[in-house]
């Protein structure tokens, strides 16, 4: 990784000189040389955007800022929790991205100065940009549930950012006695990957059914209705009859506090002591988006859906989970599609061309057991200043036979191989 760092430093110096030069030149001249685009965040959105920028215009100087040398993907991480998959299958390096001519800077962004178009990294070095893309994903809020701070998350894992938290939850479930309760506290919308808590409940039930059949999964939900609800509930009835219990918002399921000492989740109308407590707290846009000032009071970043341009900061674009995407769910597939569309908008913008209307597709697979999955495909276009779902999407049929569910499970695997290969391979 030393080589990567060196490239980063060289770029930082180059960036500084280019900025000095740019102050003396009209902006049109600057864009005719090689414009500099900095992308913060190397997940599905940021990595796809960086690669697409370079693909659409090989002359662009593209820098990807990502502190983790290895990316751990969230899609399919519920299978890691259930012991069906190794964490290694979730992990990808940035070598191929660097080989595509992108400067990969293994450092965290600490500050953004939008007025002077400059990013300051954690080590104090700086990067200048003509366009900045923020793709920081989510930040788990440690101020939303009383008692749930970072220390509490080491006892009651959220496992909502894949990696050590995923493995911690897996170990807790593996060491639980038969007859225990695994509680999952689910926040209100918006959250990263809306159907994922219910996929997680399903796959944990699958593990328990094989290894600890007297145990239960208890979902404490801050929502009354959820994505793909009828498909999930049908599958639960068919496969896990009685093993998964859900207390909805109207039944008093919204968590308000936790007590890590006793592994208790406190809801509006009761206390629930769990052997394993998976607390998924409310979320907001990743920290750098907050620090930069790209997020509004909702905690998320308002954008122009035509270009993903921030409504709050000039020459800054926000993609993926961090942006206010209207009808688009916060998912890997959506982030990847947004990354490419944003790259197109930036390249067009730098060339002085009018933006093209982005038409995004997002697909989300939910696996409830090995060989049993269903999906939701959506098409999204800007409408009235937001993204709206348009005709043409679809969801799996409620009464589809098992062979269809099995085919969807294979399609899910294939989707994962494709998106990770396109992004990191």
């Amino acid at each position: 990784m030393n080589a990567v760092r060196e490239i980063g430093r060289r770029n930082a110096i180059r960036g500084g000189l280019a900025l000095a030069a740019s102050l003396a030149l009209p902006s049109i001249a600057r864009t005719q040389t090689s414009a500099r685009v900095v992308v913060i965040g190397g997940g599905f959105g940021g990595a796809a955007c960086a690669r697409a920028l370079k693909q659409f215009d090989a002359k662009l100087q593209v820098t990807l800022v990502e502190p983790n040398k290895v990316f751990t993907a969230c899609p399919f991480s519920n299978e890691v929790i259930a012991g069906l998959r190794d964490i290694g299958a979730q992990q990808f390096g940035y070598e191929k991205i660097a080989a595509a001519g992108i400067d990969v800077v293994a450092n965290a962004a600490a500050k953004v100065d939008p007025q002077v178009h400059r990013v300051t990294l954690a080590d104090g070095s700086t990067l200048s940009y003509d366009r900045l893309v923020l793709a920081p994903g989510i930040e788990v809020r440690f101020d939303a549930l009383s008692g749930y701070d970072e220390a509490a998350s080491r006892k009651m894992p959220h496992a909502w950012q894949a990696g050590e938290q995923t493995l911690l939850l897996r170990r807790q479930i593996e060491s639980m006695d038969d007859g225990g309760v695994v509680a999952i506290a689910v926040p209100a919308n918006p959250l990263r990957c809306p159907p994922a808590p219910y996929e997680r409940a399903s796959l944990i039930a699958y593990y328990l059914k094989q290894h600890k059949p007297r145990s239960k999964v208890l979902i404490l939900d801050a929502k009354d209705n959820f994505s793909q609800q009828r498909l999930f509930e049908k599958a639960w009835h068919e496969i896990y009859d009685g093993m998964i219990e859900r207390i909805s918002l109207s039944d008093g399921g919204r968590a308000t506090a936790v007590d890590p000492a006793t592994n208790t989740i406190v809801t509006e109308f009761g206390d629930h002591v769990a052997q394993v407590a998976n607390v998924i707290p409310p979320q907001r846009a990743g920290r750098i988006a907050q620090v930069a000032g790209a997020a509004d009071k909702t905690g998320w970043c308002p954008i122009d859906p035509m270009t993903f341009a921030s409504k709050l900061l000039p020459d800054v674009h926000v993609i993926g989970d961090a942006c206010l995407g209207g009808g688009i769910p916060k998912s890997a597939a959506a982030a990847s599609a947004q990354g490419r569309a944003c790259a197109r908008a930036i390249v067009n913008g730098l060339a002085g061309k009018a933006p093209e209307t982005p038409r995004l597709t997002g697909i989300c697979y939910d696996t409830v057991a090995p060989g049993y999955a269903f999906s939701l495909a959506g098409l999204y276009q800007p409408k009235d200043d937001m993204f709206a779902e348009i005709e043409g999407g679809g969801t799996s049929a409620l009464d589809a036979p098992r062979e269809v569910r099995a085919r969807e499970a294979e399609a899910a695997q294939s989707w994962y191989r494709t998106i990770t290969e396109e992004t990191f391979g």
Partner: protein
């Protein structure tokens, strides 16, 4: 589905300000909606909620069609004696529901 949920502290010190929560499952049909055939769906709402602490009314709410389904109320009172909180919801079509919870004040 639980029909009424209440949350009252089991014990409190005399003079403590305590939070009381009450939720009941109810459709709260406004009376303004129509079916696909154009017929008005009749109003069906809760019209009043009361809470009595050892028989004395300490909280009352009148409800209207703008209140969402499954109304959830949270309010505060001062714990001054051991006893019972009694809750009552009354609504259209003879809807009536009660619940109660005990508190020990030390």
């Amino acid at each position: 589905m639980a029909s009424a949920l209440i949350n009252v502290p089991k014990r409190a010190k005399r003079g403590d300000v305590i939070e009381i929560r009450a939720l009941t499952s109810h459709i709260m049909e406004t009376g303004y909606r129509r079916t696909a055939a154009g017929e008005v769906i009749p109003r069906d709402i809760i019209t009043s909620f009361t809470c009595r602490y050892n028989g004395r009314e300490i909280f009352r709410a009148d409800m209207f069609p703008a209140i969402a389904a499954n109304p959830y109320l949270s309010f505060f009172t001062t714990a001054n004696e051991s006893g019972t909180f009694a809750f009552e919801w009354i609504g259209d079509n003879g809807f009536s529901q009660t619940a109660s919870a005990a508190i020990t004040v030390e």
